[in-house]
């Protein structure tokens, strides 16, 4: 509980700042109300406290402590944990212009994790449409619009405690810092069919892929904040500081390494609130030969296909599929010899999930998710499996919107990692399980008026 109190204390400052800003905006709104043809400034926020009682079972220690585990928690964390406290704040600065900031406290995942940092921060401009085309422009640090699972405030999931492997990774290593344009339109007047396109250019995210290779895919709910320095698995080769230029084993996934922008783009089709299909391409365009600030560039790119379908009787189906690769310079050779970072390799990244969910009487939700994931090297037979596995996740959630929810989630992850005996002296196969009872308390501005 001390952890929770600490977290509350550290969230108090941004919350106060947000409230002060809110008061200022409201004050202005009152002035404007006197001139009724003018608009009202407004602010919206959601404050959320995520705690969970966890019973993990894993042969490894948690990755957030520099371990090899796919889980956020290991057996030493059994019991109550404060997962996250955050404020998701939106200021409507002018009609069509919104500032959004997610200020986040998480208690784990690196030496300087004990504070408040920003997860997303951007300005969004939506000009009032002058035709059927609805344009939107965002600039700042934000998630690409890929996840169909993280639609809640602060990129939280309404479905369960942990995220799918794909979205866990987006939360860990992907946070473009740049400009995104998107457009949506109905295909014709009255039609439920809409088409959308989006495209972005961004800096940062050059080391993305590092954690995915060295640790493998993971499934949890910890999102990396903009300035987080994540711990890395205890790679023996890295104990020689000369190779990587520093002695610590860490990752700052959103750093810019080569000064070259990356980009993403996609198309979307919707049919009312019944169906959605999206196809996109992401490429950080990082130079794998570039080294800066203690980190290498990893050229990570992927295609992403996602779809969701509303079914009768409160059922819904969601699926995402990610297929990509990462180019990087390795210092390891299969016989374990120690070489400089000169060998250019390409690894394939692939993950998918399918989730069936059902919402009953607007309060009870049951979700079942299957995840499959892989990191492998195809180029030099025999194929090298850096990580290959599957996971089943079953969650029940009782939810009172904008107040609280309680989730009971059971998860089992099975994986195989051929490299691990020689990299870490660890067993190549592992089964990890976790039972979580998550309790989320929420204060939503829409409830205050």
């Amino acid at each position: 509980m001390g952890q929770i109190l600490n977290a509350l204390r550290s969230i108090a400052l941004p919350a106060l700042a947000a409230a002060a800003l809110g008061t200022a905006v409201q004050g202005r709104a009152a002035d404007e109300a006197a001139a009724p043809t003018r608009s009202a400034g407004r602010h919206d926020f959601s404050i959320q406290i995520d705690t969970a009682w966890n019973v993990p079972s894993s042969p490894f220690s948690a990755w957030v402590e520099g371990g090899l585990g796919k889980l956020r928690y290991d057996e030493s964390d059994r019991g109550l944990n404060a997962a996250r406290i955050f404020v998701d704040y939106r200021a409507r600065l002018k009609p069509g212009l919104t500032a959004r900031i997610v200020a986040d406290h998480v208690g784990d995942g690196g030496a300087d994790a004990d504070g408040v940092d920003v997860g997303e921060a951007y300005l969004e401009w939506r000009p009032v449409p002058t035709s059927a085309n609805r344009h939107r422009l965002r600039t700042g640090a934000f998630y690409p619009p890929l996840s169909l699972e993280n639609g809640g405030p602060g990129w939280s999931s309404p479905f369960g405690v942990s995220f799918s492997a794909i979205n866990t990774w987006l939360g860990e290593e992907i946070r473009p810092i740049g400009v995104e344009w998107s457009m949506r339109r109905r295909t014709r007047l009255g039609s439920p069919q809409e088409i959308g396109v989006f495209a972005a250019g961004f800096y940062g995210n050059d080391p993305a892929g590092t954690l995915l290779f060295w640790r493998g895919w993971s499934l949890h709910d910890r999102q990396t904040r903009l300035h987080d320095r994540l711990p890395m698995p205890p790679l023996p080769l890295w104990s020689d500081g000369a190779i990587v230029g520093h002695e610590e084993q860490w990752l700052e996934p959103f750093d810019e390494i080569d000064g070259k922008p990356g980009g993403y783009a996609g198309v979307e089709w919707r049919y009312g609130r019944r169906a959605l299909v999206q196809l996109s391409r992401y490429d950080n365009r990082a130079d794998p030969y570039a080294f800066s600030g203690g980190q290498w560039g990893w050229h990570t790119r992927f295609n992403h296909l996602s779809a969701q379908l509303a079914l009768p009787r409160g059922f819904g189906l969601i699926a995402q599929w990610l297929d990509g690769s990462t180019d990087w310079l390795t210092a390891t050779t299969p016989d374990g010899r120690h070489t400089p970072f000169t060998e250019h390799v390409e690894d394939t990244l692939e993950a998918k999930y399918v989730m069936l969910t059902r919402l009953v009487r607007d309060a009870h939700r049951v979700s079942l998710r299957y995840d499959g994931f892989e990191v492998r090297r195809d180029e030099a037979p025999p194929q090298l499996v850096a990580d290959s596995g599957r996971a089943w996740t079953l969650a029940y959630r009782y939810e009172r919107p904008a107040l609280f929810d309680v989730t009971v989630e059971w998860q089992q992850i099975g994986s195989r990692r051929d490299l691990w005996p020689f990299l870490y002296g660890a067993q190549p196969r592992a089964r990890e399980r976790i039972l979580s009872v998550g309790v989320v308390l929420r204060l939503d501005s829409s409830r205050l008026r």
Partner: protein, 210 residues
Amino acid sequence: MLLGALPALACADIAVTVLDADGAPVGDVAVYAVPRTTAATGSAGPAAAVMDQADSAFVPHLLVVEAGTYIEFPNNDTVSHHVYSFSDAKRFELPLYKGNLHPPLRFDTPGVVVLGCNIHDGMLGYILVVDTPWFTVTNAAGEARLPALPDGDYAVHVWTPRARAGDLPRPRQTNVSDGSARELRFRFEGKLMPAHEDRHGRSTLTWDRY
């Protein structure tokens, strides 16, 4: 009641039933009668109308008004809306508001006005501005009644955003006289698009990210 009070004025109802291509009733269809003889006028001028916003939806989803009507757009939600239209019949914008911030707007040009919200992508509403005081909207049984039309010739039209323009039934000519009610039946030729689903209640999946 009107008939009782004014026995000398000759008038009658037009009852309308609207069916889809399969013969099932269609609700929420605008029905209006345009007089073909100038004699058949005599409304006291258009009344005021209200397009409410509740639960992040336009209420009603389809509002029919006579040209010249002033429409209010009160926002009864706890969240702000930013209502706009880019339709030729009425281009306007009511920036970011709650409650009754903006004065009513006058809708003069007959035609379809599509309403959107610049904050909530899923919000969609329609105003049909017609050049007649005799209009209504069908109920769930596909039925509507235009009451107490003065004697004369009328063209009766139906309209819904769910029909493609080519699939709208043609206007029907009818004559009201001798106080006898007319019954008209309209049928859509093509398949109708599904009704717009407003965001009432919670949805199983997330369609608009937080």
